[in-house]
């Protein structure tokens, strides 16, 4: 607490110039109490009568789809909304009428089995969501229980008006009104990553009147009334007033702490609960997750419609024939088929009313031929997908050990979509990078220091097979790594810098790093080690670097900075105090920050660090000694994917400073609208004639394996777009770091940084700005497109970089298609400074504009829109904050797992599901068509060839399990080969395995099988005696034989179609066939009232007859012959890509690099991004 106490003495509001004009909110506040502004909160009195009548929502948040009461009706409704299921329900109901060709029970039981299986699955999924809710709702927070006592309670119990105490690094449980904090001026730092994805800390400040409430006891007597706006989704606005001690105080967003943001750098705060549960801004912002369906499934629906078409056609053909023959039964009063007694028949067969009979018969036929539509398809697919998800979750290679986080497929219905991704839209911070900065290199006085290697260099080195890199990186075990510091250079470290040629400059350089910042040191009481809390990770990296190199910043007061540094001459550690005179803050237009300090010698120094483009122009004539070298180093750093800053300093004369200070204070205190510009001008005048010291290079550390992963994805032909809220420079740096950009790539930049627009902005004419901006964006886009078309066919790769403001115009209706065309032509696209909404819009544009599958990946709440909009949303669960994960479809811990997720699981799932669906249709067409063919020889009367239970159980027992096994386990190519030949992924993107060609091919295969089975069985059995005893085969025997053949054919077909035979496959395939025989035995042994014509059919009639066995040998083989011939021809002469890989594996040539390369090259289009491409580009240059 001592450090807290020390901190309390600091008034950071002095360091920061708060820019929000607090006084100018008058007109908005006048609305309070009116419509839309009706909320009244009685602080600290949640139990009072007035609070009671308001009846605000509690803080319980529920994300479940069903409750106990609504589960049954709602989920049933969901089930029968599916056309196929509804159809089966209708036929199930019709089965109870005399129209049914089979018994009602046998028709309804499969439906019940299938529907209940789906419902069980739904229930389990919803239960999981419930568990998650319970976890969130039961988090603990300290709440005021009266008379100054704070006690823990669950989040869900919070009520409007409660006063809570939130400790450091805790999440805010509700939207809170900040009352006070551990700091004396009642400020606190808030991390809003979960809301907007911005990583820098936000500063919030309470009203001055409440800031003294710093103790638990002081809260007990606090009473106030807050009137404010109603719950709404706007994160950045808040209007309210607080009535405290008879005084009205206006409230602004500055006092509002939002749920799911996090308290940082502040020991504790007190706050009043304003909005709870569903009223909080975060929840208001969250839209219900859109239900996503995969492309394959949508196509499957189309196939089902086609099959419905076939079904209706068959049924009507049957009915027409039936109508004709029925009408024919009585001809001029003479009965033809007298044995049917047509003269005294009910309506269904009445020749006198043949048309009506035909219509009734149509329904019968629908019921009979509905075996064409696989009833178990949906449920099988769902089961398969759940199991696939289990495998995704279980994959040890997607398990992040450090955080104990496995991959987590939250929705299972998009698995196969993972195999079809065309474009990846990625967030940057926290997704590609881990948002930790490491000081890695620097250039001081024209000499480059730092022997560390960046991730990019390492992976390029690995690619090259260069042993140097590995050797150097291998030797870093001697010292424990310091977070944020990865600098290795014996010339500088351990005080060796003293002996370097420009020792004085090196000293100045690190002194600048130790002094020029806004970080706060925190001394660990035990070890004496100094830790820092900084606004941004790069700043922390600088201070840490300075500390590690002997310039330990250890104390900050309001007016001074203390540094313990190595004295150059004596070689001893000395404490030096720098009097802090001014802080010239960083902002995005200045792109630099400076401090003005007075050192112990009394000299006034201006220390400045900033981006290269603003810094070089500010150098003094005599300060450019090392400019050339530094620039060269900078280029190298940028290519290695580093963030660079230029450091420079200047000595100020006493009078010069005094003059500046007077102007600066005046500018700071001015209240006019152009206060910002005034400050800028003043600072601009002093930050000039600088003397260059050098440059720093900080690695915005990419997550492990990101470059590799991006390279693999690029090789797989997936386009990668980066959408980030970051600055353009940072984004470009990262683009370089992860090889999305490279030297020699043509960059098409779209931004609004033109002088005319700046002029217009000064004038403030909004319409003119909009017009000029739009014109500029349009111009840049058309120019880019012209460049692109001019070089089309050339080897040049283009990169598109666009910033948020321009994006706003580019996404307008009339420009967006042009923009999309340009973007699609570029190898990589980077959108920087984009808002969450823009991210979602871009995603939508790509999704609907190209019609291809998009995948969005992100980690923060600012990515939620994008994740929901994309076909697949992937959340990164590695960092804190669950917003993205909660709205994602699949959560992984690291970006690098995307490679395995897409290339291995995606490919497998796509292949499995598409083969599975094809196979499903195949087996049902085979079965359904034999029924139809039999009908044709039974004058379409609607008599099935098979026993009722044979019919009913076909889809449930005798053919389903092998398909499920295929859907879960089949692998065309092992994981190793999927990764080795990423191009196999294109099979999914181009939808080769689920093209209409292939689907129709399978259907034709089904047709062939059905025809062969039916005619062979019919010819072999009828009308002759079929056994030695001389007995002839009746309907029962023909039916059972045909059915046996079908069971064999569909299962053997499965065995032929799969390429991965584990024990499980054997078990299911042979098990299904064996089960059929067992079923025949068991069912045949039941009493004849139940088994009807299947009674003892196997034991007595089929098994003793050699012809039965001969038929069941001959027919399946003949039925499979066409498929076998076709596939062996194609495999040999026109192999698909996965088949080529099977060849490679089979021939054991996977270790033959040349051969593999040849395969890789086949139908491979050159990759334009990734380091493979970078290497290729480099070698090209060398060759030239």
């Amino acid at each position: 607490m001592r450090s807290g106490g020390r901190k309390r003495r600091l008034h950071f509001s002095k360091i920061y110039s708060f820019t929000c004009g607090r006084a100018s909110l008058k007109e908005e506040h006048s609305q309070i109490g009116g419509p839309g502004f009706s909320r009244v909160v009685f602080c600290n009195e949640p139990d009072s009568f007035e609070a009671g009548i308001r009846n605000y929502a509690d803080n319980y948040v529920s994300t479940t789809k069903y409750t106990l009461a609504t589960f049954l009706p709602k989920s049933l409704f969901e089930q029968f909304r599916r056309v196929a299921n509804f159809f089966f329900l209708v036929t199930g109901v019709l089965a109870f009428t005399p129209l049914a060709p089979y018994s009602a029970v046998s028709a309804i039981i499969p439906l019940i089995i299938i529907i209940s299986a789906t419902m069980v699955k739904e229930a389990i999924e919803d239960w999981r969501r419930k568990q998650q809710d319970i976890e969130v709702n039961n988090r603990k927070v300290k709440v005021h229980k009266g008379s100054g006592n704070f006690d823990y309670t669950e989040w869900k119990n919070l009520r409007v008006g409660d006063i809570v105490r939130v400790e450091k690094n805790e999440f805010f449980p509700t939207d809170l009104l900040l009352l006070s904090s551990s700091y004396e001026d009642a400020i606190c730092y808030v991390e809003t990553m979960n809301l907007d994805g911005e990583t820098n800390l936000k500063l919030k400040q309470a009203l001055e009147v409440t800031s003294p409430l710093q103790e638990d006891t002081s809260i007990s007597n606090f009473h106030a009334m807050v009137k404010c706006e109603d719950p709404n989704a706007n994160l950045y606005s808040f209007v309210g007033t607080m009535e405290f001690e008879k005084q009205q105080y206006p409230l602004s967003p500055q006092q509002l702490l939002l749920r799911d943001s996090k308290l940082r750098n502040t020991d504790y705060i007190y706050g009043v609960v304003i909005f709870t549960g569903v009223d909080t801004k975060v929840i208001q912002n969250s839209t219900p997750p859109p239900s996503k369906r995969s492309r394959v499934e949508k196509k499957m629906d189309q196939i089902i419609y086609v099959l419905f078409g076939v079904l209706f056609t068959l049924a009507s053909v049957g009915s027409i024939f039936f109508g004709i023959t029925t009408k024919d039964d009585i001809n001029n009063g003479i009965m033809k088929r007298w044995y049917l007694k047509p003269d005294s028949s009910e309506i269904f067969y009445d020749p006198k009313r043949a048309p009506v009979a035909a219509i009734y018969h149509f329904l019968t036929a629908l019921m009979l031929y509905n075996y064409l539509i696989p009833i178990s398809l949906y449920v099988s697919i769902e089961i398969v997908k759940v199991l696939q998800s289990v495998f995704i979750n279980q994959d040890i290679q997607m398990y992040y050990e450090e955080a104990d986080k496995p991959a987590h497929a939250r929705t299972s219905n998009l698995n196969e979509e993972l195999g079809q991704v065309d474009t990846i839209l990625s967030d940057k911070t926290g997704t590609l990078t881990c948002n930790s900065m490491e000081f890695i290199k620097c250039s001081v006085a024209g000499t480059a220091y730092g022997r560390g290697f960046t991730e990019v260099e390492r992976s390029m080195g690995r690619r090259n097979g260069s042993p140097i890199h590995e050797a150097v990186t291998g030797g870093n075990d001697d010292t424990a790594p310091v977070k944020g510091f990865n600098f290795k250079d014996e010339r500088i470290m351990n005080g060796n810098w003293v002996d370097e040629p420009h020792g004085d400059l090196i000293q100045k350089f690190f002194r600048l790093l130790a002094v020029c910042h806004t970080a706060i040191p925190e001394v660990d009481e035990v070890t004496g080690k100094v830790m820092y809390e900084a606004e941004s990770p790069d700043e922390a990296a600088f201070v840490i670097a300075a500390r590690e190199l002997g310039f330990e910043f250890y104390k900050r007061t309001q007016t001074s900075i203390s540094v313990r540094e190595l004295d150059r001459t004596s070689g001893k550690k000395v404490d030096r105090l720098y009097t802090l005179l001014n802080v010239l803050e960083f902002n995005s237009s200045r792109k630099r920050m400076s401090v003005i300090v007075r050192n112990e010698e009394g000299k006034v120094l201006l220390l400045c660090k900033g981006a290269d483009n603003v810094m070089f122009e500010r150098l003094a004539k005599n300060g450019r000694e090392f400019e050339e070298e530094t620039k060269e180093h900078l280029n190298g750093y940028a290519d290695a994917g580093l963030r660079t800053l230029i450091l420079a300093y200047r000595e100020l004369q006493e009078d010069e400073y005094r003059e500046f200070n007077a102007k600066f204070i005046k500018a700071k205190n001015s209240i006019s609208a152009d206060r910002e510009t005034l400050i800028d001008e003043v600072t601009d005048n002093v930050e000039k004639d600088l003397i260059l010291l050098g440059a720093t290079a900080v690695e915005d550390k990419l997550q492990n394996g990101v470059p590799d992963c991006i390279d693999k994805l690029a090789q797989a032909g997936i386009k990668i777009w980066v959408l980030t809220g970051d600055k353009m420079e940072t984004a470009i740096n990262i683009g370089f770091a992860c090889s999305l950009l490279r030297q020699g790539m043509k960059q098409v930049m779209i931004n609004l940084e033109s002088p005319e627009i700046k002029v217009l902005e000064k004038e403030g004419d909004k319409d003119a700005i909009t017009k000029a901006s739009r014109a500029r964006v349009l111009h840049q886009i058309t120019k880019g497109k012209a460049q692109l078309t001019a070089s089309s066919g050339g080897s040049e790769a283009y990169a598109l970089i666009i910033d948020g403001k321009s994006l706003a115009y580019a996404l307008e209706d009339d420009i967006k298609s042009l923009f999309l065309e340009l973007a699609m032509g570029c190898a990589s696209v980077i959108c920087c400074r984009s808002s969450p909404k823009q991210k979602a819009l871009v995603t939508r544009l790509v999704k609907s504009g190209t019609g291809k599958t998009t995948l969005a990946i992100g980690d923060g709440a600012n990515d939620v829109g994008m994740l929901q909009e994309a076909d697949i949303g992937i959340g990164i669960s590695g960092v804190e904050g669950m917003q993205a994960v909660m709205s994602s479809d699949i959560a992984i811990a690291q970006f690098q797992y995307l490679e395995r997720l897409l290339l291995v699981h995606g490919h497998w799932c796509y292949r499995r599901i598409s083969s599975m669906i094809c196979y499903f249709f195949y087996k049902n067409i085979t079965f359904g068509l034999t029924i139809f063919l039999y009908e044709a020889s039974a004058s379409f009367s609607g008599q099935p060839a098979y026993n009722d239970w044979f019919l009913a159980l076909y889809n449930v027992f005798f053919s389903s399990l092998p398909v499920v096994a295929m859907g879960v386990f089949d692998q065309d190519v092992s994981a190793r080969f999927c990764l080795k030949f990423p191009l196999i992924y294109q099979e999914g993107v181009q939808n080769v395995l689920f093209s209409w060609r292939r689907i129709i091919g399978w259907m034709l295969n089904g047709l062939t099988s059905a025809v062969i089975i039916f005619f062979f069985c019919m010819k072999a059995l009828q009308p002759y005696a079929f056994n030695q005893d001389g007995k002839t085969a009746g309907k029962d025997i023909l039916g059972a034989t045909m059915y046996t053949c079908i069971v064999w054919v569909v299962n053997l077909q499965m065995a032929l179609a799969i390429s991965y035979f584990t024990l499980i496959q054997h078990l299911f395939i042979w098990g299904s066939i064996a089960f059929w025989y067992i079923f025949m035995l068991a069912y045949g042994a039941m009493s004849p009232t139940f088994s009807t014509n299947a009674y003892k059919v196997f034991v007595e009639t089929l098994a003793p007859a050699p012809s039965f066995w001969l038929i069941t040998l001959l027919v399946p083989i003949s039925a499979l012959l066409p498929y076998f011939t076709y596939s062996s021809l194609w495999m040999r002469f026109f192999p698909l890509y996965h088949e080529m890989i099977q060849w490679i594996r089979y021939e054991g040539r996977s270790n033959d690099p040349e051969f593999c390369d040849m395969v890789r090259q086949r139908s491979l289009r050159p990759t334009t991004v990734g380091f493979t491409a970078r290497l290729a580009a480099r070698t090209n240059i060398i060759r030239r």
């Binding site: 039974a938 009367s941 692998q971 035979f1061 584990t1062 003892k1096 596939s1127």
Partner: protein, 362 residues
């Protein structure tokens, strides 16, 4: 699973892969992919007893279970096709031979048994009970026929598989007799004159009732009409104490009558008839001759041509046939087997040629 500290050692997996690939050099046609192996503890410590189980479970969750991955290589394909040829051609020939050995005499008599005078209106003829329906057919035995010789009748264009027809019976009544009253499925043949019919329904009502008497030389050939139905039907579907009742008493006559004193389980022609045929053209067993017929014997068949097939244009045939181990004289199976076999060989040769001519580029 994660708690047990599973870790992968690249060395071990590499070793395993090498091992498996070297093992598999022997297996020409398939490769077993062992995938990665789980290393439970580092070093050469003793492997815990459960490791096999763990390993299997690990392989299962990591989808790397040992599996065979068949590839349709030319060798595979050609061998398979050849094998199929080698199997099916002999089977086909044997089957054909069996079928050739069966002697079958088919005689269509529906037209010939109608006197010339009635040929223009056969329906009237068959419906007129006053006209005698006797008719004689002369069958010449062209080859020695070994007993037992089965006698069949064959009907064509007769839809015993019509849904209305198939449903028109009552299994319980057949088994339990009059005690079972719910005979709704038998409509319109469920009752007559207010009394229930046993056996009810259209199937029974339309019982085939042509009769055949076979005479060789001067003596009548004994036709055994027992044992022509399936045993399970006799024992479990037709009641031993169920006697025909009120059967064929109606105004409209259907087919044959039943002896009211014989229980249904012994009325085998009814049982045979009621096991409905699968297709509109079917044979049913009539009886058996239990003595050999010699070549050039002439068998005179006295037919009572009662059954009406004329109204729907059906044919009636009488068949005498011996049986082989495969049943009747059916060449189809044999032909199909031989053609499947020979086309397999043909395909394998074509494939071989194509394979030789076009080296795989890949």
């Amino acid at each position: 699973m994660r708690q047990i500290g599973v870790c992968l050692s690249p060395k071990v997996s590499l070793w395993f892969e090498n091992l498996s690939s070297s093992l598999l050099l022997g297996l020409n046609l398939m490769e077993v992919d062992g995938g990665r192996i789980l290393k439970v503890s580092s070093g050469a410590q003793s492997i815990p007893r459960h490791s096999r189980k763990h390993k299997a479970f690990y392989q299962f969750t990591q989808q790397s279970l040992p599996a065979c991955k068949p590839v349709l290589t030319p060798a595979w394909v050609i061998t398979t096709f050849l094998l199929m040829g080698v199997i099916f051609i002999p089977i086909g020939l044997i089957t054909l031979h069996a079928s050739e050995n069966v002697v079958e005499i088919v005689d269509r008599y529906d037209t010939e048994c109608v006197p010339e005078a009635f040929r223009s209106n056969k329906v009237a003829y068959i419906k007129d009970n006053s006209i005698p329906k006797n008719c004689s057919r002369y069958l010449k035995v062209y080859k020695h026929m070994k007993a037992p010789i089965n006698i069949y009748y064959q009907l064509d264009n007769y839809f015993q598989n019509h849904r209305r027809y198939v449903k028109s019976k009552n299994d319980r009544q057949l088994l339990h007799g009059l005690g079972y009253n719910d005979t709704g499925s038998c409509k319109p043949e469920e009752s007559n004159n207010g009394l229930p019919i046993v056996p009810c329904g259209l199937i029974a009502w339309s019982l085939f009732n042509d009769t055949y008497t076979l005479i060789r030389g001067r003596s009548e050939l004994k036709v055994n009409r027992k044992n022509i139905a399936w045993k399970s039907d006799r024992d479990h579907k037709f009641g031993k104490s169920v006697y025909p009742f009120n059967f064929q008493n109606g105004t409209l006559m259907g087919g044959g009558k039943l002896h009211p004193r014989i229980p249904l389980s012994d009325q085998e022609d009814l049982i045979v008839w009621m096991r409905t045929a699968a297709l509109p053209s079917f044979r049913k067993l009539y009886g058996r001759i239990e003595e050999d017929l010699n070549a050039d014997d002439v068998v005179v068949v006295n037919v009572t041509n009662n059954y009406n097939t004329y109204s729907f244009g059906g044919k009636k045939k009488l068949i005498l046939s011996t049986t082989g181990w495969l049943g009747g004289k059916n060449n189809f199976l044999g032909l199909a087997c031989t053609s499947v076999g020979s086309s397999s060989i043909f395909i394998s040769i074509v494939f071989l040629l194509l394979h030789m001519k076009n080296p795989r580029i890949l």
